[in-house]
Amino acid sequence: MDTIWRLTLEGTSVGAVYALLALGLGLVFGVLNFVNLVHGEIVVVAVYVTVVAFAAFDSYLLAGVVAFGAATAFGMAMYAGGLRFVARRSHFLQIVFTFALVLVLQNAYLLVFGAEARSSQLDRTAVVELFGARILQARLIAGVIGIALVIAVAILVARTNFGRSLRAMAANPFGADVTGINSRRTGALAFLVAAALAAAGGVLIAPFTPAEAHFGLELTMRAFLIVIIASAGSTGGILATACAVGVIEAIGVSYLPQSIATSVVYLAIIPVLLFRPRGLFARRAT
């Protein structure tokens, strides 16, 4: 029982990070109508930079700040350099283009960081006890900050003028233009928010996740599935689904072979698409 409780906590902390990714992906898809398969790569860059920077500065806080800035900048550089031109073209082209970009990046990591997975040398002995389960302090921090960021984004989207213009663009791009929303600027800001969330996610999981070249695409897939299962419009739904995915995965990994456990989550998509194709948390069709 204690093990299950510990795995639930660990799964939730990873799930909170999945939620950050899924939110960003949903935001970019909703506002820019853009299928961004390179989204997970921002996380990978953040993890790599955290690991390298930690080795240099010996301070997780400092390394985290550097990595957050670097990965966000990396995301925006991709947006400015290529993605924003593709965003106006067909989904077909978007998928092909970003898929190819993922493979370029995967090979670039091999060149820059080498083939072996890079683990951070962070303190793994710091544990906290939570209702009888001992989990890594870093995991607790990741979970708490992750959930806090999700709430912050929910407020940003629901309550601010910027959020209103985001929702306007998602609902009707032409109408948004007519009402005087600067769609180019709002689109770029949406991407910035998404990139920052992904970068933060990467910094948060860096202490307990080894950086590895193929990691990004799998993360992106996971995030996409969460968006499809929960439906893009519901922030709470995305958070709940992401945490559920994290917990199922954590429990699965400890009882099944790794490669099967991480794939099993993909099966969840089948009943959802068959019975609630608009997503579990979708509002009534309008």
Binding site: V86, V96, A100, L103, V104, N107, L217, L225, S259, L273
Partner: protein, 327 residues
């Protein structure tokens, strides 16, 4: 096309096939291998083109179908000593079944283009996850066939026979695509690609036609996977289920011209030869081998951006510049 031109094209094609058939007896084995891999890629691209080109459904699970074919053929051949002559069709059937499952889930509710691509990619990962635990591997990363000349098990010392089989498969599939392009079925598939609702309104069921195209395409792809495992006498999940192959299929088909008969052929030939020569580059070192795939992927990104209708589309535009490009 008038009769003379048609005759000329026919003679040229026949000459081309005869020239290809002479390769094993005239060229060095490195180049025979290259020719085999080129034909294999042509076959895969033409198969993928059936669903991606004709019905417009961007499937990213074809790497997995290919792997399933290889896995099934290997498992029954090594584990149960069932000959690949039966194992390959069996693999094709299992691949088709997996595709039918994906198609049923996706097309039932008409999952949009984007979600379909992501869904197929997810199913690809799912299949890879299970394949890595396949019993035939015994916990290793690859399984070998016993290497002895055994025609009953389709293990042949006369390697050129594999080449002829591959050539036959390519001729058959290209001929099929050429026929399809002018057939009722082909027009229906294209109608579904063009406008699903309009197709449905005139009595063409998008569900059935998309499902049919995906299943057929997957069966062919899985068949090729099984054949490749026999050719290599080796199966490995990371080789046969690889994303790299999926990308090559995408790149080659797009480069040549998606939805056309000759696009996948030209594109695959170009990509296969390009990859071959990129591998010959004097690049050493464990990490530097990442450079050739990087170049390939970079080329696809650029090509996808600028040349949406591929080589065949570009040629067509040159010939009669008034005619609008596909769609």
């Amino acid at each position: 096309m008038n009769r003379t031109v048609r005759l000329g094209v026919g003679v040229a094609l026949l000459g081309g096939v005869i020239a290809l058939a002479l390769i094993p007896t005239t060229l060095k084995s490195v180049y025979v291998d290259l020719a085999f891999n080129t034909l294999l890629l042509v076959f895969l691209c033409s198969s993928w083109n059936l669903v991606a080109g004709f019905t417009g459904q961007l499937s990213l699970a074809h790497g997995a179908f290919y792997g399933i074919g290889a896995l099934v053929t290997t498992t029954v051949a090594i584990g149960w000593e069932i000959t690949p002559y039966l194992g390959m069709p069996l693999g094709a059937a299992v691949g088709a079944g997996y595709a039918a499952l994906i198609g049923y889930v996706a097309f039932r509710r008409s999952v949009a283009g984007l979600y379909f691509a992501v869904l197929t990619l997810a199913f690809g990962f799912l299949a890879l996850g299970f394949a890595r635990q396949a019993p035939v591997l015994n916990g290793t990363s690859g399984a070998f066939f016993p290497v002895t000349n055994d025609p009953g098990m389709f293990v042949l010392d006369r390697r050129e026979i594999y080449f002829y089989v591959m050539l036959g498969m390519v001729v058959a599939v290209v001929a099929f695509v050429a026929w399809l392009g002018r057939s009722r079925l082909g027009y229906r598939w294209k109608a579904v690609r063009g406008n699903e609702r309009a197709a449905e309104a005139v009595g063409i069921s998008p569900f059935r036609h998309k499902l049919g195209a995906l299943t057929l395409s997957a069966a062919l792809t899985a068949l090729a996977g099984g054949f490749n495992a026999v050719y290599l006498l080796y199966f490995s999940p990371d080789l046969h289920f690889g994303l790299a192959l999926q990308l090559q299929i995408l790149l080659a088909t797009l480069l040549g011209g998606i939805g056309t008969v000759w696009g996948p052929v030209l594109g695959a030939a170009f990509v296969s030869v390009l990859t071959f020569y990129l591998r010959q580059l004097p690049i050493e070192g464990p990490t530097l081998t990442a450079i050739p795939p990087m170049i390939t992927a970079a080329i696809i990104a650029v090509v996808a951006y600028f040349l949406t209708d591929g080589i065949v589309g570009g040629l067509r535009r040159l010939r009669r510049s008034r005619v609008p490009v596909r769609e």
